[in-house]
Symmetry: C2
Subunit: 204 residues, 2 copies
């Protein structure tokens, strides 16, 4: 019966973030939601911001984990196919209304503190994975670039930027056009077969 307080705090924060704007989440409220004393919070985290960071990082780590899960249950194993899966693990729920997850919920909030941190976390957590996939693609011959690490970082950065509703507060059509441009950019950037990234803007 180890009641991991740290996990309790995580869960309380995550729950709250999906319910109310970050600015309305006080440490007292987190403690209340977690069912522990306020002082305990500061036994496990050195600041309120640290809780936020940890939650966001965990969120992207889960997306990466989900991607690795899908790998096992699939025959297609080309680098490009894997990249597609990785992207989908991160973004797929952002465009379907029914299965909201943490990432989309976070994006919806208007608090700026969140958005910058999310981009940084995304780059930190996801770009290393993508970097390896790019290298795989290079070995396979399906991808050509001399700078996989930097390319990966750029790609993740841009992708995350795109998913941020608050940066481009526009209609879906503009978003679709941009995703199409992005697909083209990725193709030329990585010198892949035409259509390799069409899944970004094509339904399913």
């Amino acid at each position: 019966m180890k009641s991991d307080k740290k996990e309790l705090i995580f869960d309380a924060m995550e729950k709250l973030m999906s319910e109310v704007p970050y600015k309305d989440i006080s440490v007292d409220v987190i403690a209340k939601k977690a069912g522990i004393g306020k002082g305990s919070i500061y036994y496990y985290f050195k600041s309120k911001d640290e809780i936020l960071y940890s939650v966001i990082e965990r969120c992207y780590r889960r997306a990466v984990h989900e991607y690795f899960e899908t790998l096992h249950t699939s025959s297609e194993n080309s680098a490009l196919a894997k990249i597609k899966k990785l992207f989908q693990s991160v973004i797929k729920r952002d465009f379907s209304g029914n299965e909201k997850n943490m990432l989309i919920t976070l994006h919806l909030h208007d608090d700026m503190t969140l958005h910058h941190k999310m981009k940084c976390a995304a780059i930190q957590e996801i770009s290393p994975v993508l970097t390896e996939l790019l290298k795989e693609g290079i070995n396979e011959g399906s991808i050509k670039t001399d700078t996989p690490k930097e390319s990966a970082e750029i790609i993740v950065a841009v992708l995350t930027f795109f998913l941020d509703d608050t940066v481009f507060p526009e209609d879906n059509n503009s978003m679709l056009i941009k995703l199409k441009i992005l697909a083209g950019v990725l193709e030329t950037c990585l010198k892949t077969e035409p259509g390799s990234f069409d899944f970004l803007y094509k339904a399913n």
Copy 2:
């Protein structure tokens, strides 16, 4: 002798932001620096954040204004040349240490609130100008794209992202590689002559 209080507040805020982290700038301090009562601040701005937004917007508007100034003092008037000038007005001081301006100063701060807002403001202020330049280039024949507006927004977004030190906290070499990639991406994205955007990563 109209002592425009609003301007006083602007200047105080701008000065303070170049001196201390945003989180250390209280409304009392702004009032003190501006030499007015705290209550007066809330007569002209409805919140502290609104001051921040206004200052950042003014900052990018100045960059755009500076660009328009350089237009008059030049013979070269091709769309690509103008785009180069626009970019340089926004970023040039970010890489030279001596002539620090507001933009670089802001980027240096570690406060997240700033960074997201700066990206939004950059897109809002600069991408319309770039959109027109892309259209010019299309008419000239030097640029080819069906979606100038969206392309412009993407370009500004990515560029701003790159200039943000806190997102890619790496060495200058990685930054240089990324700017090189970006230049290539812009070329293929806009179908311009090779080397059109080399100024992004080449010294002067």
